[in-house]
Amino acid sequence: MTALPFSTVEELAAGLRQHLYLPDRGLTTSIYLALSLDKPLLLEGEAGVGKTEVAKVLAEMLGRNLIRLQCYEGIDASQALYEWDYSRQLLAIRASDAAGAAATDLFGPQFLVERPLLAACRAGSGAVLLIDELDRADDEFEAFLLEVLAEFAVTIPEIGRIAAPAPPAVIITSNRTRDLHDALKRRCLYHWIDHPSLEREVEIVRVRAPHVAEPLAREVAQAVARLRNMEVAKRPGVAETIDWSNSLAFLGAPHLDNEAAEATLGAVIKDHEDFEYVRRHIDDVVEDDAGRG
């Protein structure tokens, strides 16, 4: 086990807080367990609740490199693990032909293109590996990933085995556009990130956008909480709360009133039909007590 700069859940929470991330008790415990038990942490939740942020903040806090593997449909081993630099190999063949020598060692390290998973195997515990939006990749890729996560070792036939002395910290995120396989889930610790409570959200806005005054931050957080309870197709996340507060503060609005809310609604609602709907019901979003100030 690698030495971690904290020994209790509370110390970890304090560390994350220093790096401007305010997780709740459940998430902190999950992160603590993932790091202590050397297990990947699978984070699911609606868009904008800060899943990816966990990896970034952890890398910062632990002073490790962040290695990010962004998943997309059709991703395969050559984009995730390693690939040979075929154009350079071709050139090498031509060059050795011209020199009259046989082409040798075409599959040596100098022709190897390192991709995130290989980089993570090499870096080992010196890295935080973020596997982002795994649900976008297809089933085949998930099976492949399972192998890599089990061993943190890669065997390249021409070069040999590259193994991590100690596994990196692994954060996997999923937006749940499809269910991940149980085999993968069994290997991971799991946490569903929910929208934060009102108090926590106000705190997050204050920490992330320090120039936003406390009353405005509170009004925005309250309004967003109401938006989440409305019949909108895309519920705003914490990122949107911060954006909205920033926009309002930038425009110099001391309070969230109907006018200011309508003018800046694009920062928080990003679907045309939702937009129209919320505009019609703007009075329900901006409560009277907030409007008067």
Binding site: V9, R25, G26, T29, S30, Y32, L33, A34, S36, L37, K39, L42, E44, E46, Y72, E73, G74, D76, S78, E83, W84, Y86, S87, Q89, L90, I93, R94, D97, A103, L106, D135, D138, E140, N175, R176, T177, R178, D179, D182, K185, R186, C188, L189, Y190, H191, W192, D194, S197, E231, A233, R235, E273
Partner: protein
């Protein structure tokens, strides 16, 4: 460090979850024990979160977990931390308020039923239960025996499976894209001379099929037939999701794994409590889109809606939700058994509101029309 007895207590909790139907294997229980070890000294709260992180991995299971945790370790101050968690799930399961039916289809329904009864009588006089006759007989007039026979026919329907082009590339003999890596590898055998050239092509993937079935009283005979249809689709190699609705939506995909459509429908009947509550198609669709709009099951899928279109909800809601569905799905097929009657016209307000957003409008009231549905799927 917990003593042996404590571990037995922890393992017991894992087994308790398993007894309650959660897939908790020994590996998960081991993780749970290690987790409590690193968290030591363990208070109730960290024990709870350790279990949450290690023993379950789906937000839907959280409620069951909480109940089991409360029952096994005793209930206390935990409750408030958990309640917020299910808001996103609960949103779609709000009880709907009652309104009266507003449709003009009553006449069409009556006419259809009479016409069918007459046809049924005539058929019984001619042959007992010939396959040809059965193919054209409406599902709601079938006897138990005929129903079983029809079920067999449906399950052996030949379906064309809808395909789409995937992003992933596969080796191919058809020349579409040059495959440099494989060409180079094979050219190494020939001193770098690329005698054999390799190509790749886009792979084809099966589009998912989503059935959204109206299970309110008058529709159950047809919905049962479409459940059979779902089994036919599964055996044709298709991914199938099934949702049932009356006043609200229930996902019943899991019931399909029982391999027995009747048992599956009975299970559904047990979970769906609103058989006589009337149909609220718009609200149910909103539930579907809110919860699964981001799910691949719905995106670019073939969606088959089976309902008579007699909606008790607001037609504007239905129109808006149908528009959303139309944008999300590859193709929307509405199966309306009333359409089997030559007298039928889609005049009910709900049906009229939905019509502009439907790609294919089919009757689906007998085996022959389900056969037609099977052909339409792959187009």
């Amino acid at each position: 460090m917990p003593a042996g007895d404590d571990y037995a207590h922890l393992v017991g909790f894992g087994r308790e979850l398993r007894a309650r139907g959660l897939p908790v294997g020994t590996g998960r229980i081991l993780n749970f024990c290690s987790a409590t070890r690193v968290l030591a000294p363990v208070d109730r709260r960290s024990l709870y979160w350790a279990g949450r992180a290690t023993l379950i991995s789906r937000p839907e299971d959280a409620e069951l977990f909480d109940n089991a945790f409360g029952a096994y370790f005793g209930r206390s101050e935990l409750d408030e931390t958990m309640s917020s968690l299910f808001d996103w799930l609960d949103r779609t399961h709000r009880p709907a308020d009652e309104t009266t039916i507003e449709g003009t289809d009553a006449g069409a329904v009556a006419g259809f039923a009479e016409a069918d009864e007459a046809a049924g009588d005539a058929n019984i006089r001619m042959v007992a239960s010939g396959t040809e006759m059965l193919r054209d007989k409406s599902f709601d007039t079938l006897t138990e025996e005929e129903r079983n026979h029809a079920a067999l026919l449906i399950r052996h329907l030949k379906l064309s499976v809808p395909l789409r082009t995937a992003r992933r590339l596969r080796p191919s003999v058809k020349a579409r894209r040059f495959d440099l890596p494989r060409t180079l590898r094979s050219s190494l055998r020939t001193q770098g001379e690329p005698f054999r050239r390799a190509y790749r092509d886009r792979r084809r993937k099966v589009r998912p099929l989503v059935l959204v079935l109206d299970v309110s009283g008058s529709m159950s005979a047809y919905s049962r037939a479409l459940m059979q249809f779902a089994f036919a689709a599964i055996s044709a190699g298709q991914k199938v999701e099934v949702f049932c609705f009356g006043t609200h939506l229930t996902r019943v995909t899991r019931a399909l794994s029982t391999r027995d459509p009747d048992a599956a429908l009975q299970e559904v009947a047990a979970t769906v409590q609103d058989w006589d509550g009337g149909t609220r198609i718009g609200e149910s669709l909103r539930g579907l889109l809110d919860e699964y709009g981001q799910h691949v099951a719905l995106r670019r899928a073939v969606v088959v809606l089976c309902s008579d279109g007699l909606d008790r909800g607001d037609p504007d809601v239905l129109a808006a939700q149908m528009a959303r569905l139309g944008r999300l799905a590859w193709r929307v097929i509405w199966v309306n058994p009333l359409k089997g009657s030559p007298l039928y016209q889609p005049l009910a307000r709900g049906m009229a509101a939905a019509l502009p957003h439907i790609d294919v409008f089919l009757p689906g009231h007998n085996v022959a029309s389900l056969e037609a549905l099977g052909k339409v799927l792959g187009q």
